[in-house]
Symmetry: none
Subunit: 216 residues, 2 copies
Amino acid sequence: MSEVAATGISVLLVDDHPIVRQGYRRVLESQGDLHVVAEADNAADAYGAFKAHDPDVVLLDISMPGASGLEAIRNIRARSPRARILVFTMHNEAVLVKAAFGAGASGFVTKSSEPSAVVGAIRAVARGERAMSDDIAHILAEDSLSAGSALDQLGEREIEILRQFAGGATTEQIAAHLNLSVKTVQNYHYLIKTKTGARTDAQLVRLAATCGLTRI
Amino acid sequence: MSEVAATGISVLLVDDHPIVRQGYRRVLESQGDLHVVAEADNAADAYGAFKAHDPDVVLLDISMPGASGLEAIRNIRARSPRARILVFTMHNEAVLVKAAFGAGASGFVTKSSEPSAVVGAIRAVARGERAMSDDIAHILAEDSLSAGSALDQLGEREIEILRQFAGGATTEQIAAHLNLSVKTVQNYHYLIKTKTGARTDAQLVRLAATCGLTRI
DNA sequence: TTGCAGCTCGGGCAAATTTCCCAAGCCGGA
DNA sequence: TCCGGCTTGGGAAATTTGCCCGAGCTGCAA
């Protein structure tokens, strides 16, 4: 398996942009101790590549079309709990970060990070540590002072209302469909936002979509 | 001026992600005839770097925070009509492509393109030709045949605000990024809803996602 | 049995936002 | 030149949000 660990760190690159992958590959391999052993351009291929190459670290961009990157994390971790997955994306929303860690990611760095920080994070997760970039740490820290946790903290009713809301239903339509007062739906709406840490309706929709609650 | 043209093509890289820039630099410079003479991480710095280095080609990612990338194109072209700007982004919405060419871009390639296609496009625009990747050509072709998407009725400013909104930004954040008053952003928000027929914010996010304006 | 905890459902009320309508500056085309 | 469209924002009423509250249920544990 990861016999290369003695001589360096093997990395699986998952990103849907070919030139971006090639760029990362060159940046990483110029480090000396990092070796890109495989690439994948979608979540579905990611697990196959993981199984075939058993890399020390998976560098994963979760903003991919098609299947959710979160699903890819869960997929890989479910079959290989030892897998080290470093999420690498331009998104920096607290709900996404928490969802990624909840799905089993070992680290989360944004593309705004300096290359040295990214490389450092790869080495950290390869050592089994948890890693995140400074901006992510700040976002999580601020978030933890105000909000609770992610989507699985929601009750059944809240999930149902979130699903309909994210599907495009108005408050009135949800209330009519569930035989609730508009006020109750509004209260659930507010409750869902505070529970998930979403600051806007758009973030709520994105969260619902990334968690597979709704399809877009 | 561009005396390096005899020995190669000088390129200015504009992208807000440091590691992405570094990756592109390595990919381009491995070609032999391409030289990255400068980098910028925002639209404001892009023109300064352009003036200082007079590159043959500007490789520009228009999905940057702060001022619109389209503005950067117009900025550079207004002062240096000979500038060759190759837009390089993960977005592939027809309205964006048309807006970019309308603003004075010489080419448009997506990050889904093969590196060889990107390099080919750089050489093409350096020769003064117009260039676009295959997927963009298909999208433009289909668009010219169809009645047009819901986003076609939106102005460039509206598109930019919709993108940021659907990406999860708050009204205040959008206003700060674009140097607008909160009131103006609110007005755009309302205008976008009425123009597209969206009744809720969630529908707006879904619309933006289905049109490729934002990715979830 | 009592009691606690958590979900569900809604009222209340101040603060914020949305919804429209309007106006002014700018720019490009007829 | 005039018209139309884009951009930017003010104003004011209507609506929603943010956050507090209580009350009825259920399940579970002491």
